[in-house]
Amino acid sequence: MTTSPLITLSKVGKQYPKLTALNLIDMQLNQGEVLGLFGHNGAGKTTMMKLILGVISPSHGEVNVMGVAPDTKAAWHMREQIGYLPENVSFYEHLTGLEVLTYFARLKGFYPKAAKQHAIELLEQVGVAHAMKKPVKTFSKGMRQRLGLAQAFIGKPKLLLLDEPTVGLDPIATADFYQTVDQLKSQGTSVILCSHVLPGVEQHIDRAMILSSGNMLAIGTLAELRQQANLPIKITPHGLNGTLRHDAHLLKYLSNDESDSILKVPEQDKVAMLRYLLTFESICDIDIDKANLEQVYQYYLQQNKNVGNDKKLSAGA
């Protein structure tokens, strides 16, 4: 087993005639690591996936996946070890679920019998085995998405690239999906999850990368990002009623924009604040709300916008 990263992007950029899709991206992904890739539509998420898949070539910089450049012929065997779920894919409507999956398994190098066997196992794993003999055109959105996932799991890939994997899945299926991701991760599979920020994704990713119009705004573990962003923790004490407004120390932290019982406390003041709150006799409960991924994401986007505006202003002046 190698210790070198599974994927290395160094100063990677992708330029189209009229637009810069990606700009100076540096990134590494290790084996067994799950990276969340976040950004709005058109932020460059799909472009980055295509670069890693070798479907397109970078305009600048170097992409290295499992020791080879993915857009060369040498990357041939690497492709057997990559699973990809595209964002909007509609499989061959007139084929049955089993036929679709058997076809893709054969293209991954399975021989006919083994391909069918593997396809059935995967369909059972994602929970559409009951409908595998029905044509895909009769599938619901969620079932199609599960079929797509099964397709990405063909051949136990070492690297999974999933573009919006939970779109169309109901909460239970989403939970099932994340469980599968955790399981694959423990088996040493690396995963890149591409998504709009979704609640529930944060427990399942090791690191997050935030993209906006082709630029990398931030990359790191959630804790690192939170620290960099220095977002306050929201503390909601219950039972104090009016006391909050009358206490000079607490008043400093009181947020004005939201409901008047939430305190916004910087990370480093958290424990001190809790101690202070506990001195009140009447307190009966305390809610602590760490900044979640969505807020961190919003913060970085906002930050980026401000920088952009500043640049525009200085350019105008």
Binding site: W76, R106, L107
Partner: protein, 272 residues
């Protein structure tokens, strides 16, 4: 190889499933049997007419039908998968673009070839049983072989269209125009050239120009061996020229290979 076969198998079974094979076979069979028996109704006879008349009328019908069917079958082969997103997915598989192209060509070409063989072969067999003349089999095998090549040629042309555009509707439009061009415009232009421009083209030159249309080569292959009384127009002049049937077949095969190579070239350049 496993991958090429997988693609070919899928395309072939698609052709079976959506009734392409059966409908094309039926169309060809009905037409050829009909022409064989009722081709001479206009001159007051019913029954097996002269062999050369039959082949001549079959050829002039097939030259319209086969390209149309091949284009219809294959025009959305790539652009359709591009629109549904599976083309991008396929390209992330350990499958080269050439393998995908070849696989599709073998599968869909197989449908066209089999339908041609079964459809026209049926009437050849019936005719042979009626007249018991080996000449029937000889002429029909030439006819069927060239018809298959004509079909494959237009399948490859359809791939060029399908890979060159990014919208299915555009591909359909262009396919129709291509068909119209080779079925009608090319010959009309040729005729205009012959009639309108005095001393414009020599017999040799005319035959050379005809090599630019797979439809005309197909006609030449089939009509060259017949009594010239059943053949008229520009063709009659061209037939008298010196190309042998073998050479004509070679040119027809070139007309299969060139578009296929062209399609492969476009595919290599194509970004998704």
């Amino acid at each position: 190889m496993n991958q090429i076969l997988a693609v070919a198998g899928k395309e072939f079974f698609d052709g079976l499933r959506n009734r392409w094979l059966i409908s094309i076979t039926l169309i060809f069979a009905v037409l050829s049997i009909g022409l064989t028996y009722f081709g001479a109704v206009a001159s007051g006879e019913v029954g097996v007419t002269s062999l050369s008349t039959t082949i001549a009328s079959l050829a002039s019908l097939a030259v319209f039908l086969i390209p149309l069917i091949a284009l219809l079958l294959s025009y959305d082969s790539f652009v359709g998968e591009q629109e549904s997103g599976t083309l991008l997915l396929l390209l992330t598989y350990p499958l080269s673009k050439t393998q995908l192209l070849l696989g599709k060509f073998i599968g869909q070409g197989g449908i066209i070839a089999l339908a041609t063989l079964l459809g026209f072969g049926a009437s050849a067999l019936i005719l042979y049983l009626q007249v018991n003349d080996v000449e029937v089999l000889r002429l029909f095998s030439t006819f069927i072989a060239s018809a298959v090549l004509l079909g494959l040629s237009f399948t490859a042309i359809a791939y060029v269209i399908s890979l060159a555009v990014n919208e299915k509707s555009k591909a359909a439009g262009i396919a129709l125009l291509i068909w119209f061009f080779f079925a009608l415009v090319f010959d009309l232009a040729l005729l205009a050239l012959l009639v309108g421009v005095e001393q414009g083209v020599s017999q040799q030159g005319l035959t050379q120009i005809m090599m630019f249309s797979p439809s005309d080569i197909f006609r030449l292959v089939n009509l060259a061996g017949l009594d010239s009384s059943d053949v008229n127009g520009a063709l009659a002049i061209a037939i008298k020229s010196s190309l042998t049937q073998g050479q004509l077949f070679l040119v027809l095969i070139t007309w299969v290979m060139l578009p296929l190579i062209g399609a492969n070239f476009i595919f290599m350049k194509k970004t998704l």
